[in-house]
Assembly symmetry: C2
Homo-oligomer: 336 residues x 2
């Protein structure tokens, strides 16, 4: 659009070579006289010169840009994680491409390709679970950090929450409230690690001495919408007795569940206790505010960025892979 100044123009004005201007731009002040530095500084400020980052990237093979690829950007979990990522990256001088795979493995692959073509320096991925091999390959050529969702049997850095701990907190809490039956409601896990982990945690804990007196059941949902959830909730209500409880495996599911309870006129906690994974913004404004397992989403995002950024510059020598696991917390409210 506009004919911007180039390094050549500044060089001419200052009366030095472009090499010197370039050194200045890259902070190599030690290799120029104080006087030169000041003259350059002044001219750049006066002229409002801005280096062209596209050219810098092409030449230096460092774009100072990171691709963040989320399976579904438009859920509160992703949003909070993004906030953490964005803040760290931005404070380290990195710009992020935020990409939404829309829960499609194919789109996830396309996005990764697009991002490599854009010469990003590294990736933070919340994977759809459909590209394990592809992402493993990617991680051989680019710095990659997985966030929220791990890939089994592989050596890729990851940051996620302690799902066993989360489910344990929920079950112990419900137990302490005298529950006699607990249903765990989850989407069919597919190849998505947190879902698998939560389900496994639930079924494992259900077997343990502590919980043998409790009637534990797992309900898997293929489709997550109002109708499907209402159907399950309806069935539950008519089959169970005593003091039942429900654990929902993520925020979206919790929302549908609350709607279903409302539609079926079922009261929480009078008719059924409820604990939801994820502390959504609406949890507090329900008739009975929702007890939740809160993930440190913001910290998860920060941790992911903090893990990736050193990989972007460091010699690929330090190839120690780490899985960071952050603890969830239980926030007790009136639903239990």
């Amino acid at each position: 659009m506009k004919s911007k100044l180039a390094i050549r123009d500044i060089a001419q004005m200052v009366g030095v070579s472009t090499a010197t201007i370039s050194r200045y731009l890259n902070g190599k002040y030690h290799s120029m006289s104080n006087e030169t530095r000041l003259r350059i500084e002044k001219t750049i400020a006066q002229m409002g010169y801005q280096p062209n980052n596209v050219a810098r990237s092409l030449r230096s093979t460092q774009s100072k840009t990171i691709a963040v690829i989320m399976a579904d950007i438009f859920n509160p979990y992703s949003m909070d994680v993004l906030k953490g990522i964005e803040e760290i990256c931005s404070s380290c001088g990195y710009t992020i491409f935020i990409c939404d795979a829309r829960d499609s493995g194919e789109r996830e692959r396309t996005l990764i390709e697009e991002m490599t073509a854009k010469c990003v320096d590294g990736f933070i991925i919340n994977t759809t679970g459909e590209n394990d091999d592809y992402i493993m390959g990617l991680s051989l050529e680019y710095p990659v950090v997985l966030v929220g969702r791990k890939i089994q049997n592989t050596r890729i850095n990851s940051v996620s929450v302690d799902n066993l701990r989360g489910i344990t907190l929920a079950m112990e809490h419900l137990c302490s409230k005298g529950c006699t039956a607990i249903t765990f409601l989850s989407p069919t896990p597919g190849n998505i690690s947190p879902r698998l982990e939560r389900i496994k945690a639930f079924t494992t804990l259900a077997q343990q001495a502590e919980f043998t007196t409790i009637d534990c059941r797992l309900e898997l949902l293929t489709q997550i919408d109002d109708a499907a959830v209402a159907h399950i909730i309806h069935q539950l209500g008519t089959q169970r007795t005593a003091r039942p409880a429900l654990i929902t495996s993520n925020g979206k599911l919790s929302l549908h569940t609350v709607k279903a309870f409302k539609a079926l006129n079922r009261r929480v906690p009078e008719d059924i206790l409820m604990v939801g994974f994820d502390d959504t913004d609406w949890a507090q404004i329900l008739r009975s505010p929702l007890t939740v397992i809160a993930q440190p989403t913001y910290e998860i995002g920060q941790a992911a960025a903090n893990k990736l950024i050193p990989m972007l510059t460091k010699e690929k020598g330090l190839k120690e892979t780490t899985d960071t696991v952050l603890p969830p917390t239980l926030i007790e409210r009136e639903s239990t």
Copy 2:
């Protein structure tokens, strides 16, 4: 990280010049033999060659990248708008940089500068309201579309909602419910156009014959948090009589208001009717689901992208500026 193939390598393999490969990459199939085209196609597919977009951008001064700068990315309104933007851009082959100004005018300016340095082709901006002149200048050199928030007295394309219509819908609705007093709760508007428009709409309508029997009051909040909102709500309750109603000017404010009502044990709609701007995901799960003025957020995003993209290629000849205004709708629920 990896030594990628360059156009030169493909040219060598196919046995043509890089110019021909480049023409192929740019879809100029008419200027090469069918046979050449097929050979190139095959080799590229075989080798998994991907053109380097950074180099393409540098040479062609088209980066196929758009900067989206939102005053506050982390509110539901922005999210939905983004979804609309993202979908259109992505389907037109544009990648977007999503930037969060965190409600800081200074950060907004910094981001715009960063994005120009990244050679984006254009901007979609939901402005903080603190950089009117700066953005006006920007719009002289880059294609810019404002979304949600306009800049007064300027010729920049924009897409926003009909705020007068929204407030009218809310007031007529409350009127039809027999309200005798309406309070409009809004953040202090500053230089943010939708806030100004909604406030103006309210005060103007309040004067009209239709509403003269209704006691209309405007309440401005400097700070938007639980305590501040609770304080206002508390005052209101003790001063008013008959059949009062409240209109909240955005989704965030609605959330705090609902919390305040809860804390003060005030029932909706028994003690006070309520209409909120923005149809948030939690509106339906309240004890009394919230009547809202819903903005066509998704369509607003789409419209903004659809307006910007033609500006990216077309000669700057067609300089007709347009302000697209989309209609809001009232969704009646039990809070009124």
